[in-house]
């Protein structure tokens, strides 16, 4: 049950705030873009760096992603997922496109082992809570079996097809298909709904 504040309204969740931001973007309010950026950019940057490796390319991908979000905010459909998931899908799609050029793919491999840095965002209070949430999600995701993690890594970060994954893991294609589904089901069980993007 949702608790009420003294004012009588339930407190806004991050997802509520995100949806409100989309409404404001549609009114042309660029401030709403700042809010979305501050809430989500660290995750998007981590994701894109994981895929493309090279910092300058990751920055280009993110600029494209945020501009695309601004241009197509009206296309966001709440019935298909959260604003966070929408942004992640856009950023990942652009990053995968980017590595589908041999040069970028090679550079990604060369720089994949770069030392990660701790996030230090612009709004410390908001970001601390977001950072803690992310840490809890990471801990939950780490409980996936190594096999499932590998399938997701190769598909999600590597952009490989199921046939390519099967070849890489020396596993039958049918097995890769069923691992993929099991991995996504398990993943949604491991992460509590309130921790979703």
């Amino acid at each position: 049950m949702v608790g009420l504040t003294r004012g009588g309204f339930p407190p806004m969740t991050g997802q509520d705030q995100d949806r409100a931001c989309i409404g404001r973007l549609l009114e042309g309010e660029t401030d709403a873009m700042e809010e979305l950026y501050d809430r989500h950019n660290d995750l998007l940057y981590s994701l894109v760096r994981r895929i493309v490796g090279v910092p300058s390319e990751a920055e280009d991908v993110l600029q494209e992603t945020w501009l695309h979000a601004w241009r197509t905010a009206a296309s966001y459909d709440p019935s298909r997922g959260s604003v966070g998931a929408w942004l992640v899908t856009m950023a990942r799609s652009r990053a995968i496109d980017r590595i589908r050029s041999e040069g970028a793919r090679r550079r990604a491999r060369e720089t994949a082992g770069a030392t990660p840095m701790e996030a230090s965002p612009n709004d410390p209070a908001n970001a601390a809570a977001e950072s803690e949430r992310r840490e809890r999600v990471r801990a939950a995701l780490a409980q996936l079996s190594p096999q499932h993690q590998e399938v997701l890594d190769l598909a999600y970060f590597g952009g490989l097809s199921q046939t390519e994954i099967a070849a890489q893991l020396s596993a039958p294609l049918g097995t890769v298909k069923s691992w993929t589904r099991q991995a996504l089901l398990r993943l949604s069980e491991l992460v509590p709904r309130e921790e979703w993007l």
Partner: protein, 274 residues
């Protein structure tokens, strides 16, 4: 519709990750197009689940300069296209994840072709949007001008040199708090009638009449708002040579059966010229 099968769910998972091979992707897309509700729901769930996997990436810090670069770019675009958001933007739907796999050469050629097509499409779309916005703005302006002109004509009734104002008085059958005032311009035959305390009893309607030399002629029902206030605009209240008075009757709901004689009691009357 092709029957839903368990393996469709395996395909949904791969689709959410964009990792399906072409043949599987085509199979699933055909099935989705047929409207399988099970797959549609599962696909949404898998897509949200897939986005969670982004959280497994090692946390990295984006350079602070990137924030300025991104937000400056957004603000510049917002300033350049202030009126870009509207029905057309809302019509854009997100495309489903599509596995754009193929040989690198095919990919390169396709990418180059797509790039050209995208730039062309963007230019066309921007031009179309600008054209539509301009046309819509012109249409709105014309509508507002027509509305303004109409309001001017009605306002002119009140200031017309030969306009006559009549205060209607309640008859013994009318409630004493009823109020009505008519302004009639014999030049244009227009009239404005303002009513107060005209909330009709349940099951009844008040009806306005022009009393002509030939007899009464209905000018329509009086529809007051919740406070009993109403304004009736009459484009032709009657020939000044014939119009002698305005009257109001209380009728059963829907008004008098004929337009030439009240059926209910006359509750107010106001004679022109005293």
């Amino acid at each position: 519709m092709s029957q839903h099968r368990e393996e469709h769910l395996d395909l949904c998972a791969g689709y959410a990750l964009g990792s399906l091979d072409d043949a599987d992707r085509r199979t699933l897309e055909a099935h989705l197009r047929e409207g399988c509700p099970i797959c549609a729901a599962e696909l949404t769930r898998f897509e949200s689940g897939a986005a969670l996997w982004a959280g497994s990436a090692p946390p990295m810090r984006a350079p602070s300069a990137l924030r300025k670069r991104v937000l400056d770019a957004v603000r510049a675009e917002a300033a350049a296209t202030p009126a870009r958001r509207g029905a057309d933007a809302r019509a854009i739907r997100p495309a489903p994840p599509v596995d754009r796999r193929g040989s690198w050469m095919t990919w390169g050629l396709a990418a180059a072709a797509c790039l050209g097509a995208v730039f062309g499409a963007l230019e066309w779309r921007n031009a179309t949007l600008r054209g539509r916005e301009l046309a819509a703005a012109r249409e709105e302006l014309a509508r507002l001008n027509a509305q303004l002109e109409d309001e001017r004509r009605w306002a002119a009734v009140l200031t017309a040199p030969r306009a006559v104002t009549v205060q209607l008085a309640a008859t013994p059958d009318g409630a004493p708090n009823l109020g009505a005032r008519a302004t009639y311009d014999p030049e244009t035959r227009r009239a404005l009638v303002v009513f107060s305390n005209f909330a009709a009893p349940t099951g009844n309607d008040y009806q306005l009449w022009a009393i002509l030399k030939s007899g009464p002629s209905s000018l329509g029902l009086i529809r007051a708002d919740s406070t009993g206030h109403a304004v009736v605009r009459l484009a032709d209240a009657g020939d000044p040579a014939s119009l002698a008075a305005f009257a109001v009757s209380l009728e059963k709901e829907g008004g008098a059966p004929t337009t030439t004689a009240p059926a209910g009691p006359v509750v107010m009357v106001g004679k022109l010229g005293g």
